[in-house]
Symmetry: C2
Subunit: 418 residues, 2 copies
């Protein structure tokens, strides 16, 4: 296996949004949760991580670049993933390139990793979930590991808990498991993305001045101090998991929305019950909830579900395209773009929703009438600039290999970032 060859694999992995939340670990090192969780995988066309992993006898250490900048791999979470996946490496033979790597050689070979998010890392959109899922998926392919997606998810979990749910498309359940070593704490697919393809997702990226508590330290503090968390994890979530699986199976949007919203709110409730309290939602988040709740009530049946992770951004799931375009009108009425923001950068992702909403230019936003249900009772406040931008997307597929060499992030000769 001598020589200057470089073997590379490039993969693309989606991010995901939990509809039954993961909050609290029973084991910090292994990242074992206190309850099951369920998520929807988001379309990688709009939110994904692309990762190229490379191996070469010429590499003298493991190295990683994130969004073009070299970062340290010394952290325990990277080390766990690398150790676990290396121990599952198998013989690799690439006849075309004349490369042969025996199973036992992997422990002495070094890796180069380059990763890129097609969305702002700092926006609080679960970049670590997509990132660790992509790292583990790509390395498994590189190393010819025989593990299936669920077994890989248990490795990705050790990088970032919610990463395990990004190994599948569609609707995914992270089973908390019982084993002390965590081997049964892994993700399974409940349904693929085609099962319920009416759903449309709109994400409001909310401007924030607050420095947020990281989810790692936040959930540790909740486990240590909240008297409500244990009751949630033991008594409430197990029932909700069963109900949510049923709602997804039956494409029962009313139940899906009710469970999604109440579980998001309960997650933020246990954050507030933490000492000192953790606030992830801000006034803008509250106003978005209010817009959605009022509309759902005025329609009689839920049109939109909302859910918030460890930050102020709202993820809204509309029952269909019609509801999504009406939602977008309402959102744009209350949260119009700043004067210096153009519409094209204010609504990103699947812009066809914007066309459905009859909005072609910024003047169309200013001309939006107040939503009908608020005419009488509350003043139609506008909060210009409180949302940074919106992303229109949908449920999407799981990880894929990118065979097009031009999409690799590392140079095939040097193994360094292009």
């Amino acid at each position: 296996m001598a020589g200057k060859w470089v073997r590379m694999v490039t993969a693309q992995t989606p991010t995901n949004i939990a509809v039954i939340k993961y909050w609290g670990k029973r084991d910090e090192a292994l990242i074992l949760p206190v309850n099951d969780s369920i998520s929807v995988t988001l379309d990688p066309a709009h939110l994904c991580t692309t990762t190229t992993v490379a191996v070469s006898p010429s590499f003298d250490q493991d190295r990683m670049w994130l969004n073009g900048k070299e970062i340290s791999l010394a952290g325990g979470r990277f080390q766990s993933c690398l150790r676990e996946i290396r121990s599952r490496a198998c013989d690799v033979e690439d006849e075309e390139k004349g490369i042969k790597i025996a199973k036992k050689e992997w422990e002495n070979l070094h890796l180069h990793i380059a990763s890129y998010n097609n969305f702002p890392t700092a926006a609080g959109l679960a970049s670590s979930a997509a990132g660790f899922a992509c790292l583990v998926f790509a390395l498994a392919k590189l190393m010819n590991a025989k593990e299936d997606q669920s077994q890989l998810s248990a490795i990705a979990r050790q990088g970032s808990g919610s990463a395990c749910r990004s190994l599948y498309g569609g609707f995914v359940k992270w089973i908390m498991g019982n084993d002390e070593d965590g081997r049964d704490s892994l993700a399974v697919q409940l349904a693929d993305e085609k099962h319920w393809d009416d759903l449309v997702i709109i994400i409001a990226v909310v401007s924030s001045r607050q420095k947020e508590t990281s989810s790692t330290s936040g959930m540790r503090e909740t486990v240590e101090t909240s008297l409500l968390l244990k009751h949630r994890a033991k008594e409430i979530v197990p029932k909700r998991i069963v109900q949510m699986e049923e709602a997804i199976k039956n494409r029962d949007f009313a139940s899906f929305a009710q469970l999604t919203c109440t579980d998001s709110n309960q997650f933020h409730a246990v954050c507030l019950d933490t000492s000192p309290p953790i606030f992830y939602m801000n006034d803008t988040s509250h106003r978005i909830i209010s817009v959605v709740e009022k509309w759902n009530r005025s329609e009689g049946v839920p049109q939109v579900a909302y859910t918030f992770d460890a930050g102020p951004n709202a993820v809204m799931i509309a029952r269909d395209r019609k509801a999504a375009s009406l939602l977008l009108q309402r959102l744009l009425f209350h949260f119009p773009p700043n004067a210096d923001t153009d519409l094209n950068s204010y609504i990103i992702g699947d812009k066809s929703i914007l066309q459905d909403a009859g909005i072609q230019k910024k003047e169309d936003v200013d001309a939006l009438p107040p939503p009908s249900n608020i005419k009488d009772d509350i003043p139609s406040h506008k909060f210009r600039g409180d949302v940074s931008y919106f992303i229109c997307t949908r449920p999407g597929r799981g990880p894929v290999l990118l065979s097009d060499k031009s999409q690799a992030l590392l140079n095939p000769e040097t193994g360094l970032p292009k």
Copy 2:
């Protein structure tokens, strides 16, 4: 008992702030709570209701004026209080005026009631608690009812739950009771205001654009929809009540502060766990919590407790005058008054705390240095105008009769508002 006489009584009753919260009724009509609660009575010099009640054979109906404006007494809560107190009326003899009212005559006599709050009713400062307590206390005196304060508290409770705690000064416990008719759901004094007279209270009246959910409908919705409330009421609050009584008895500020803050946060957590969620705190409330929590942490031992009722206003309880003046400096640093607000109307109540803080004029506020604990880690943001004003006060006494006739709110000849 013929003639044109008017018999009048004027009383003054404090408001109170719960440190273990009341949220949720087990009986809506009788106002019976799902758990015990504990409050601190606030000094009536700064926050109180004054009520004059009058009876005369010349009155042809029950009438009431609140802050000079006539209001309806038709509501069930007023009717409950009037009915209950009338049924306890006794013989009255006023030799000086030559008035004799026999016990059985009360049911045919009409009442005039005038009530006045020495603080803005709309500020969300528990005006109904002081109001109903004062109404019941004054009527009991007018009608020579023999009931003690606890028995009166059970009547005031039927006007507004938290009103029962305003029948005593100092530290007060509302015992939830067991009887279906509510007779054992009443307030008792844990300690009077002299027991722990180091405490200083600063209230931040927070500007808000939001229309808030009333506490009556809010707590009904929480009872109906929150899965966490029952656990709080049955498992958590009973233990906290015991701990809080102990902390008050021992003047143990560290325990008092920890229990006060966590219980306030848990109350807001169950509001958030309500469907649709209820948000009483806003970004300014969160920032005030952050200021207090950071300072408490930097000092090692708690200097200040915070608690929030059904609105964004912060009630902060400082361990002593020194802590209160340092707290006021911190608050004024982060929340300076608007340019058009003068210091005298920005800090009201006990202004000696302002002197202790070394602040004589508005320029002194602008000259405040950033609090020492935030120098390094977080930017020292200022949120000018986000607080409307501050009230400096302390724990205070219970209801008193005002014998000075000039303080009566009704004309002694006509029984109409002065």
